[in-house]
């Protein structure tokens, strides 16, 4: 059962408080900061007061504890079964992590129990040895704060050489691809891992500064109809963005903040709703839709 107090934020906060008390740290401010770190916004009103008032008999008035060992808890069966399930996933195996002996553990689910039906078919080769080696070199570089030297094939099929600061990896579930987000190289901001042909740590003396490029955002306003259940479908579809939905004079307006670089993708995402979703603004986005429709009209389909 997932909804169990064993996994509760309060238990985690109290475990940390008891560890601090065992270490002799009885500063109330420090204990409260553990509550803030591990529990919720209003937990300050509950956790330490419950311990101090002896409702939870784990701490005496002098901030000593009858608990002798720093609290730990063995993994639950559910946690082990989930670990077993994810340890079979080739994307997780990329990280080269040993999850311990799970040989006698039944996985919570297997690949047979799940079908991701609309993922693109040209995902990264997660089980290819060269790809795995590149992935782990990138991880190592990020962990140790080293730069990378990357040889890659660009979209036009040309070989490029890049030295960069690896900022983070980004995974898209739809594309089933990893991208390396970089800085320090003015002509490459991100690299598709599958396009990398060589990748190694840079151990030279010349230091390039980590200057992550700030994402430029645009805002899109849509009028969403209730027809054909569009409202729910549309709100779900754009749920992963920072967004705001409003009811204005009996109709629904959806405001979405998106990465400006993703405008072409956003255009086709809006188009898929057909006439039940209309772009209200900005005009430059609306014009992209109009251009598509004009081209369609010239195709002579109707």
């Amino acid at each position: 059962m997932i909804f169990h107090e064993l996994y509760s934020a309060y238990y985690t906060a109290v475990a940390n408080i008891l560890s601090a008390l065992i270490d002799g740290n009885t500063d109330e401010k420090a204990l409260n900061s553990l509550v803030c770190e591990h529990a919720f916004g209003e937990s300050l009103l509950t956790v330490l007061p419950a311990l101090k008032s002896e409702k939870w008999q784990l701490m005496h008035g002098d901030f000593s504890t009858p608990i002798c060992h720093k609290p730990t808890m063995p993994l639950t069966t559910l946690q082990k079964r989930w670990l077993k399930a994810i340890s079979l996933d080739p994307r997780v195996r990329l990280f080269g992590i040993d999850f311990g002996d799970l040989s006698d553990v039944e996985p919570l689910f297997t690949a047979e129990d799940v079908r991701v039906y609309d993922r693109y078919a040209d995902g990264d080769p997660f089980e290819d040895e060269t790809y795995i080696a590149h992935f782990r070199t990138i991880l190592q570089a990020m962990r140790s704060g080293q730069d990378l030297r990357v040889e890659m094939t660009n979209r036009r099929g040309k070989t490029m050489y890049v030295r960069c600061v690896p900022e983070r990896l980004e995974y898209s579930e739809k594309d089933d691809k990893f991208r390396l987000v970089t800085s320090g190289c003015h002509f490459v901001r991100s690299v598709n891992l599958a396009r990398i042909t060589k990748c190694r740590l840079y151990n030279g003396e010349y230091v390039i500064a980590s200057r992550p490029v700030e994402t430029q955002y645009d805002t899109l306003v849509l009028r969403v109809s209730e027809e054909r259940n569009t409202l729910e479908r549309c709100l779900m579809h754009f749920a992963h963005f920072e967004k705001r939905a409003e009811r204005v004079d009996g109709e629904y307006h959806l405001t979405i903040r998106y990465d400006r670089d993703d405008a072409p993708e956003m255009v086709i995402r809006v188009l898929q709703f057909g006439p039940t979703v209309e772009v209200l603004g900005p005009d430059r986005f609306k014009n992209l839709i109009i251009d598509k429709l004009k081209s369609q009209k010239s195709c002579g389909l109707l």
């Binding site: 059962m1 509760s8 238990y11 008891l18 919720f40 916004g41 209003e42 937990s43 002896e54 008999q57 608990i67 002798c68 808890m73 063995p74 993994l75 639950t76 559910l78 946690q79 082990k80 989930w82 994810i86 996933d89 994307r91 990280f95 311990g100 919570l108 689910f109 129990d113 079908r115 991701v116 039906y117 609309d118 693109y120 078919a121 991880l139 990020m142 983070r168 980004e170 995974y171 898209s172 579930e173 729910e232 709100l235 779900m236 992963h240 705001r244 629904y252 903040r257 086709i268 057909g274 006439p275 209309e278 429709l293 004009k294 081209s295 369609q296 009209k297 010239s298 195709c299 389909l301």
Partner: protein
């Protein structure tokens, strides 16, 4: 009337509220008031406490509207997981938890219930009003912990001995756990594991990342368990058309996950209709496992076969009736520098086929159970569709009429070729 508590006993109520706040976000307080204004206030306050940074509001003529706004590309962790860490408990539960695991600190030492009880007394020394804990309470707690796998029991003669389950050392690096906790089913369990680390740096972020399914984790977990045991289940299924959820008896066969619309469906055999049907997992609750069914493998094999004609989640309507398939074909024009469109067709074709007609024209064809599911995708090729044929003529007419409506909507008149 009980006082407000940040923690909750029942997840179902908050599941519905969080979904409404996150997905819809336009409902005002008065629309939630139908059941209880106080209930709304309590649930809103809880969400503010758990997810304060992500709660926003706007003032509208209908009143103040609270909503959750989360750009999952910027969030390191799925913030909705916090709700799963808010289970309420009694004072005795939390006290016993830490004392029992302290007594059973050494996994090599097995203790009887009597030994545990006698050691427990010392823990309450020094408290003004020591908590009274009887044998039955401790036995029940131990039994619960055995079920969860935290404690194991063994027989020594007629006596039952209890000891801590063997510890497993978690990997030092958290990246794999973090990654899996965001993209694998029931990822909240990974989040529970990450809570065991003092702190961690995550170097992976996510694009196109739907996080709403976090709210369905318990249901999903029960469905996986049913599939592992090849069981029949009863499940409550809410419907937009009916006030009360309906109880269905089904055989769960597979979970279908979309990376493009944020939904998860269960494909399950429903004996009442002798059909494999899809159920929205966010509409399901109260999964109860019943007896195993000897038909599980046969039914799953049938689903495997059907997948060759499933664009989305619609399967064949009746198992023993003739296959009714609908045919779709459309042709797109490709300019000289538009190889990426051909790549798109190839990578997105699913159960369809792509055929090159000439240097500048490609045709997509598929036979599916339900053309309706394909229409949004076909619309993404608007600007280059030169031919289109559906065996379902009503849908073909509607598709073309929709394009005409879009022309009008955006004020597009006659365009010369």
């Amino acid at each position: 009337m009980s006082a407000y508590n940040e923690l909750i006993k029942n997840f179902e109520k908050i599941r519905a509220y969080m979904r409404d706040f996150y997905v819809y976000g336009f409902k005002s307080r008065t629309e939630y008031d139908k059941k209880s204004a106080r209930l709304y206030d309590d649930e809103r306050r809880r969400m503010e406490s758990w997810l304060g940074d992500h709660m926003q509001f706007v003032r509208t003529p209908e009143g103040k509207t609270m909503f959750l706004s989360i750009d999952s590309r910027l969030s390191e962790h799925n913030p909705l997981y916090k709700a799963w860490k808010a289970k309420s408990f009694t004072d005795r539960d939390i006290t016993l938890h830490f004392i029992l695991l302290d007594i059973l600190h050494d996994s090599n030492e097995a203790l009887s219930l009597g030994e545990i009880l006698s050691r427990m007394d010392a823990y309450f020394d020094g408290f003004a009003a020591p908590m009274s804990v009887d044998e039955s309470t401790v036995r029940k707690k131990l039994k619960e912990y055995i079920t969860e796998g935290v404690v194991v029991s063994e027989k020594q003669g007629r006596q039952t001995l209890y000891r801590r389950a063997q510890e497993m050392v978690l990997p030092e690096d958290t990246e794999a756990l973090h990654f899996a906790s965001e993209i694998c089913p029931c990822g909240v369990i990974g989040s529970f594991l990450l809570d065991k680390y003092p702190s961690h740096v995550d170097r992976v972020r996510f694009k196109h990342h739907y996080i709403t399914s976090a709210l369905d984790s318990d249901v999903l977990c029960a469905l996986f368990e049913a599939m592992r045991q090849k069981c029949v289940v009863t499940v409550k299924n809410a419907s937009r058309r009916e006030e009360e959820p309906r109880e269905n008896r089904i055989v769960p066969l597979r979970v279908f996950i979309s990376t493009q619309n944020g939904r998860q469906h269960l494909l399950a055999y429903q004996p009442d209709f002798n059909a494999i049907k899809s159920f929205r997992i966010d509409y399901l609750s109260d999964v109860t496992l019943l007896e195993p069914t000897p038909r599980f493998d046969e039914l799953r094999a049938e689903l495997d076969r059907m997948q060759a004609h499933m664009w989305g989640v619609t399967a064949k309507h009746r198992l023993h009736k003739d296959e009714h398939l609908e045919t779709v074909s459309f042709t797109v024009k490709i300019a000289d520098n538009e190889e990426h469109i051909v790549n798109r067709l190839e990578r997105e074709k699913r159960c369809g086929t792509v055929e090159k007609l000439d240097e500048h024209a490609y045709r997509f064809t598929a036979q599916v159970y339900d053309i309706n599911e394909m229409i949004p995708w076909i619309r993404t090729f608007i600007c280059r569709i030169t031919e289109l044929h559906f065996s379902n003529h009503t849908l073909e007419t509607q598709f073309k009429r929709d394009i005409e409506t879009m022309y009008k909507l955006y004020g597009i008149g006659e365009v010369s070729e």
